[in-house]
């Protein structure tokens, strides 16, 4: 690893070589997205090396899982990626159902899609708001949270909680949606669609934001795959991979019959799918990729999230229609002391931050023998180290923010 990359056009050349300085960013820091310690070795403003230290939020969820039944473990999955708790619940529920070979009725499947895509919108709003905050734009944060508050109010009506829901349980969901919920959800979606261009004006097309994020932290597709990056980080580098299309059948059957795009820049044209622009015939313009942006940089990862919000809006609209047309059970959760058959099952779902996997090994008791959570951000975070070598200090929060890490998921 080089101390200073003189050929980098963004480097300010030094006449006087100074001693390198080792500083800690975190664990208490306004922009490290949780308790993360980044040990930086800097030469003036240029970061020559970076090492992430994690474990400050380790709560031994995997050991605890060996002492609890499958349903009792659901609240622990909430607290992993607490910003997308419904998706965590879904991952665990699907894994247990895979082990039990238990199918959820159709209404329950549409309910799961509806709830998880709403949570994806909420999670991406947080990601976008806090990314702006990292770069010094204070207002988009509040706009994003204003919209998120409305989503959280809707979730409070379903299960009583705003952040850690424990709603999607193995077998279905703990309760059906209240009467009138889908109408309120439609109202929210219709209002939210009009607000999305505000975020594009404030961030995506803002000249200063583009200057801060384009060309920074460029992740090549090979490196992304090698480092195990998934989710928007992988798709921002141009790799066409989304588990909602390409994953296991038990997961992709949830999305059977839904129309939506995988947000990934086309490898030849570099353009993003724009079928949503035909769907939204209300004239909303979605900004083009700026000329400075290189595939795999922070801007692309951010833009993938922005467009995924639009796809999630589409999915929510479709799932509301399908859910309302269904009758029957939403899926009763399994018994509290349900014995799990001997065997093991691993299933990955497309959580907002990447591919979240749960691995359950059972020896026939109601408590699993081993529980393992494969965190998407765990692998995403590791790529910070090679990405941040040779950048300026101010680029470190830009890169970490674009990877959108949540420490609860990394440390479990």
């Amino acid at each position: 690893m080089s101390a200073t990359n003189i050929d980098d056009p963004r480097v300010i050349e030094f006449d006087v070589r100074t001693d390198e300085m080792i500083i800690n960013m975190g664990p208490q820091h306004p922009s490290t997205h949780g308790v993360l310690r980044l040990a930086l070795r800097t030469d003036g403003e240029i970061v020559s090396d970076l090492e992430p230290h994690i474990g400050y939020l380790h709560r031994c969820a995997e050991k605890i899982g060996e002492n609890l039944t499958a349903r009792q473990f659901v609240p622990y999955t909430d607290r992993m990626d607490y910003l997308a708790a419904m998706n965590m619940n879904l991952g665990w529920a699907l894994t247990i159902e895979k082990l039990l070979d238990h199918d959820v009725p159709e209404k329950g499947r549409h309910l799961r899609v509806l709830i998880c895509e709403m949570n994806r919108i909420a999670s991406h709003l947080v990601a976008m708001g806090t990314y702006g905050l990292d770069l010094g734009a204070f207002s988009p944060f509040l706009y994003a949270f204003r919209e998120r508050e409305r989503i959280l109010d809707l979730f409070e009506k379903t299960c009583g909680a705003r952040l850690t829901y424990s709603y999607i349980a193995p077998g279905g969901a703990t309760a059906d949606l209240p009467v009138g919920w889908t109408a309120e959800c439609s109202k929210f979606i219709n209002q939210f669609k009009k607000v999305i261009p505000e975020f594009h004006t404030l961030l995506t097309t803002n000249a200063i934001f583009i200057a801060r994020t384009t060309g920074v932290g460029i992740l090549s597709p090979r490196m992304a795959i090698d480092y195990g990056c998934t989710g928007p980080v992988l798709r921002g580098s141009g790799v066409y991979h989304d588990l909602r299309f390409h994953g296991e059948e038990r997961y992709t059957e949830l999305y059977d019959g839904y129309e939506f795009d995988v947000i990934c820049a086309d490898s030849e044209t570099g353009k993003y799918p724009s079928s949503h622009q035909e769907v939204y015939k209300d004239g909303l313009e979605y900004p083009d990729v700026p000329s400075d942006a290189i595939l795999g940089d922070c801007w692309h990862r951010f833009y993938v999230r922005m467009l995924e919000v639009v796809q999630s809006v589409r999915l929510v609209e479709q799932s509301i229609v399908k859910y309302d047309a269904c009758s029957g059970s939403h899926g009763e959760p399994i018994k509290l002391t349900q014995k799990l058959p001997v065997g093991e099952a691993y299933l990955e779902t497309e959580a907002p931050r990447g591919q979240m996997g749960f691995y359950v090994v059972s020896d026939g008791q109601s408590n699993p023998w081993r529980v393992r959570a494969r965190s998407s951000c765990f692998s995403n975070l590791y790529v910070t180290a090679p990405l941040c070598r040779g950048v300026l200090l101010a680029d470190v929060p830009a890169v970490v923010g674009s990877l959108d890490v949540v420490m609860g998921e990394i440390d479990r």
Partner: protein
Amino acid sequence: MAEFFNEYIFGDGPWSWLGYVIAALIACILIIHVVAVGAMGFIWLERKVAGRIQDRLGPTRVGGKFGWLQTLADGIKLIAKEDLTPDVADRFLFKIAPYVAFAASFSAFIALPFADGVVANHVNTAVFFVLAVLGLEVFGVILAGYGSGSKWSLFGAMREAAQVVSYEVPLGMCVVVPVFLCGTMNLTTIGNMQEGFITNWLVFNDPFTFVIAIVYFTCATASVNRAPFDLAEAESELVAGFHTEYSGLRWSLFFMAEYGSMFLVSGLAVILFFGGSNGPIPVGDWLANLLGGVEGSIGANLPSLGAITVGVIGVANFIFKGAIGVTVMIWIRWTFPRLRIDQVMAMCLKYCVPIAAFCFVGAVGWEVLDLPTPNNLDEKSRYEYHEKWSQEYLKTQRESVPTENDTHVQQAVPAEAIVTTVAVSQSDLDVNGGKQ
């Protein structure tokens, strides 16, 4: 004011110095009030504007429905806080840094005229003085950053030093244009020469000056460390940059220094480009004429009612326009993200300096080629507008013949602060012969 004391209380003898000291103290106290109360007002304004931009209300509880007294309450809370100094800090530098920053910000107000004649000290080279003193604020920041003993504070301080010092260059270039157009560095005179209708304002003089005004505002935002140039205190990277380790009263001094400087550069922009204390329509003059003219005096040594009216309206005008400038800075802060240090430097060296230089040449060329301007600056001589307050006052003392005014002027003016002014105007009178 000093002459007032001297004439009535202390006389011209050995105690006359006391008159000056008391006058200076009163001027200082007034300026501190301007800075402190102004800071209080601007912090309230910032919180309200920021709230509205972010779709919320801002302070609404303390002091009525609009939270007028919120800043006062915060100030009282800050004073009551524990006075901490980090172990590894350099104690002396750590303690003195906020005072240095505040002193620099506050001292520049000494030469800033709020209206014609309403200024703490009549400095003839006011532009130079204000720019020079404003640049001293960076000392406070560097001392704070180094003295805190924290690497993050040091980072903030070094960034600030680089940034402020670099932006002095385009700032100076922008400021030179109105100085050139008016032919004087005296801020009072520059303000006076823009009296009349809005077309007289220097910003509308020619397109190059218009661009220069915008560039000035950008460089001014950079030199007071406001977003998008606020890397020195960048919250998301450096926790709080150079003032991370400060709390309580020391921190509030930094805060006051920042808002004081914001108002100062905004006020400087107002005087240089946007008419000073003159409004878009000369309401002050009309009112003064209604009230019997600006000349004359009510009682000994006090200006006339008309002059007082002009003064009050001028001050109100100036503060209002300065506040608009501050509001624009607040507006920009809460809208845009922050620039990186290399982008800040690139902006200064690759954009601000060349544009300022080009527009400077353009503005000079406009004048030299005598191209049309919407104002009547060419017909005015700056001497007519030079420190009008003193000339009005002098007129009340004057006999008829202009040429005898040389000696007469010297006798009639007791305060020494005007001596330099008089000396200059005297030599100019000689050159031009028979002026007024």
